[in-house]
């Protein structure tokens, strides 16, 4: 030993490293120092305004008062394609989170969701759900893997202010695709803004194209009922939907200049007053006001025009689920939370009123039109319970809420949903960036590609 001192210093260095790395290891200990069950729950996307945090803090307090043995930890969460699978594998998802209908089937087939059949039975909800919606959370084994929480239908959102500037009547929004085209041109001619816009990237292009195909009476996929499906993208309705985009962009010049929008950015553009009309889910009002600072006076919503011989309104929604890796205690706490936070307000008057009151006091949107996950009667009733707290401009949403019940809801394609959407993104982008795009050839090609994906 020439230099014991040096060895000692080095030893300390090693110790320091090991300690630092040990600190990196996941601290998945259940239960906090106070002996409560810690429950990590999804809240809202990052970037929400302070009021959203206030509302959640108030609700957290209410819940913990009723359940003194549970400690709720809110986690910012947004369902995002690219990160979800990695978070799932890495174990960094909250214990309770929400996923879209489109992905629930695949997740439960992969064994990535917690079985909650007993909990739903115990709460007595099994018979109360809308059966079409319940099907989306039922596995091949007949078990239930989540609580359907809310549903939306496709809607046409429009800027009332731009309508007025263009000499259009904001209380009589367009009712056919041709009228939408005329209105879009009028808006662009009068204001120079985009009369109409549509999402085109990150799978939202495929999502909206599918939605408009259904609205024109076509379908992009036929389900064989055994986990396989036939691609039917190459149909007249999809072709008409693409031709519509082409005409607005290249013939009328009313589409606007941005062809690289997705769910977030199109909302941002609309909230900033740069878009006359666009289609998206009926549930976005909350996000427009909360996350994008829209002035509610400009907002108008109506149904998506239906035409053709079997048209429908594409619907979707999300499901409150739990990670399959949590232990029994946490699962029990999770069921309590889902029931309290998501479900009770749909069926219990006191809970509905409390929820509406809390949200209203924090300046959050109350009363955004949704589709019922239970029954329509119950939904209508719940809207009456909270009538005093509804703070969204209901009259500006009337064109939607009065007509939506006459439309047939259609679910999103079930097999390889997002992958096919991704293929369709490219088709939408080509039509919007290439004036001479051959729509027939594009559809024939994407049909082949989609079928190959389905057959994998």
């Amino acid at each position: 030993m020439k230099s014991p001192k040096r060895t000692l210093v080095a030893g300390v260095a090693v110790l320091a490293t090991v300690t630092a790395l040990a600190g990196c290891s996941a601290g998945g200990d259940e239960g906090s120092a106070s002996g409560k069950t810690e429950l990590r729950v999804a809240t809202f996307p990052p970037g929400a305004d302070a009021a959203a945090y206030d509302a959640f803090a108030a609700q957290e307090k209410q819940f913990e008062k009723e359940h003194p043995d549970i400690d709720i930890i809110g986690v910012e969460y947004e369902w995002e394609g690219p990160t979800f699978a990695v978070q799932l594998a890495g174990g960094s998802l909250p214990d309770v989170f929400t996923v879209p209908f489109t992905d629930s089937k695949t997740l439960l087939e992969n064994g990535q969701l917690m079985d909650v059949t007993d909990a739903i039975d115990e709460l007595g909800y099994t018979d109360r759900f809308n059966p079409i919606i319940l099907d989306g959370v039922t596995g091949d084994d007949g078990k239930l893997y989540g609580f359907p929480r809310q549903a939306y239908a496709a809607a046409l959102h429009y800027n009332r202010d731009l309508f007025e500037q263009a000499g259009l009547d904001p209380d009589n929004p367009p009712q056919t695709w041709d009228e939408i085209r005329e209105a879009a041109k009028a808006i662009t001619d009068a204001t120079g803004k985009a009369g109409y816009a549509q999402m085109a990237i990150n799978n939202t292009g495929g999502w909206q194209l599918t939605s408009q195909t259904v609205a024109r009476g076509g379908r992009t996929q036929t389900d064989n009922g055994d986990g396989t499906a036939e691609s039917t993208i190459d149909n007249d309705a999809t072709k008409a939907a693409l031709q519509f985009l082409h005409d607005l962009k290249w013939t009328d010049g009313s589409f606007g200049s941005k062809v690289d929008l997705d769910w977030g950015t199109i909302n941002q553009e609309f909230a900033a007053g740069n878009i006359g009309m666009y289609t998206s889910g009926s549930d976005i009002y909350t996000a427009l006001v909360r996350d994008f600072g829209m002035d509610s006076a400009i907002y108008g919503m109506t149904v998506v025009p239906l035409e053709g011989d079997d048209p429908g309104t594409l619907g979707g929604g999300d499901i409150a689920v739990m990670s399959p890796t949590i232990d029994e205690t946490t699962k029990a706490a999770g069921v309590e939370w889902i029931d309290w936070y998501y479900m009770q307000k749909l069926m219990d008057k006191d809970a509905a009123v409390l929820d509406a009151k809390t949200l209203d006091e924090s300046g959050q949107a109350v009363g955004t039109p949704l589709l019922p996950v239970l029954s329509r009667e119950l939904y209508d009733e719940s809207q009456e319970w909270i009538a005093d707290y509804i703070n969204v401009p209901v009259d500006q949403m009337k064109p939607f809420s009065e007509r939506i019940w006459d439309q047939t809801p259609v679910g999103e394609p079930k097999v390889k949903t997002q992958e096919v959407y991704s293929l369709l993104d490219s088709v939408v982008q080509t039509v919007l960036t290439d004036q001479n795009a051959d729509i027939d050839a594009l559809l024939a090609q994407v049909q082949t590609e989609a079928q190959a994906k389905l057959d994998e």
Partner: protein, 321 residues
């Protein structure tokens, strides 16, 4: 380290005779007495971090490229992933896009910093100011720079660049909203962002050109362009070549610009190899094809390793300049 001394001796005798001037193998005892243990202990943390954060993921991804996995369950599929991606026309397109980026980056990005550096080396006063100005874009965080340029590239007639074009009577351009214009737009931003670093290197290299060469050229009656052509460029030949290889290696890994500007669009016109890998792995919400994604990564790594080897060979040869 469980060899007995006799075994060691045997091993030494079996091994081929040591080359000339190679030091004799030290026994563990002398290694230990020479403070070898302390050295090893000092290296350990570093080694640990490297193995843990750098080498193990590399090995992991090679393993993953032979599997079909969703990160939770994995099954071995041999070279299927490689065959699948090599047969994927989309990868071919991504390679062509990447090469197109590289070519454009050479056209815009290679001569420009050199030109600026030569001009800057000619100025007498305020050299520091010019250097600072040239280097400024490098200091701006890349994501901020891209978002800023995205705003400049607004396709509205009221967009920043379109307004400037409007002053000289050019109609508004779609920039990144168009399949043909998107890639050059990306390269323009990347050049702006990266030129500063190259300029500084060229400036340093220019200082190494002996002034008497210029004097001699002047005596022969050469003007500034002749001087640049006959003196500066030949003197910089080595560094130019090194910069070229480095740039090719860098452009092969282009990700940030297409990812942030266009997400690979419009209609796949700016989808580069790295973005292709990203999409393969993360595009699909329920776990992408990690096996195929890592297979492309491994292939790309091999190509880059060859380029890097070339770079080292050449830098050895040019190291005299």
């Amino acid at each position: 380290m469980t060899m007995t001394l006799s075994e060691q001796r045997a091993a030494v005798e079996d091994s081929p005779p040591p080359a000339a001037r190679r030091p004799r193998r030290r026994s563990p005892l002398t290694w230990y007495r020479g403070g070898g243990l302390a050295n090893l202990v000092f290296v350990l943390p570093m080694l640990f971090v490297f193995v843990f954060f750098s080498w193990s993921p590399i090995v992991q991804s090679v393993i993953m490229s032979l599997q079909k996995t969703n990160l939770i369950v994995a099954e071995w599929v041999g070279f299927d992933n490689y065959l699948a991606v090599i047969g994927d026309p989309e990868l071919g397109r991504a390679v062509i896009n990447t090469l197109w980026f590289a070519v454009l980056a050479l056209l815009f990005g290679f001569p420009l910093p050199l030109l600026i550096a030569v001009l800057m080396s000619e100025v007498r006063r305020g050299k520091g100011l010019y250097s600072a100005l040239a280097y400024l874009p490098v200091v701006i965080p890349p994501v901020v720079a891209v978002l800023l340029w995205k705003f400049f590239y607004s396709a509205d007639p009221s967009g920043v660049f379109n307004t400037v074009l409007g002053w000289v009577g050019i109609p508004p351009q779609p920039w990144i909203q168009d399949a043909v214009q998107a890639m050059p737009s990306l390269v323009l931003e990347a050049t702006w962002a990266g030129a500063g670093g190259s300029i500084i290197i060229y400036l340093a290299a220019l200082l190494g050109v002996p002034p008497e060469l210029y004097d001699a050229a002047e005596v022969d009656g050469a003007g500034i362009w002749k001087k640049v052509w006959h003196v500066t460029l030949p003197q910089l030949r080595g560094i130019l070549f090194i910069m070229l290889i480095l740039q090719v290696i860098a452009t092969a890994q282009v990700f940030l610009e297409p990812f942030l500007f266009t997400g690979g669009g419009p209609a796949g016109a700016t989808k580069t190899v790295l973005l292709y890998i990203y999409d393969k792995a993360f595009r699909n919400s329920l776990g992408g094809d990690y096996g195929e994604a890592t297979a492309v990564s491994v292939l790309l790594a091999i190509v880059l390793a060859v380029l890097s080897w070339l770079y080292f060979k050449l830098t050895d040869r040019w190291s005299t300049t």
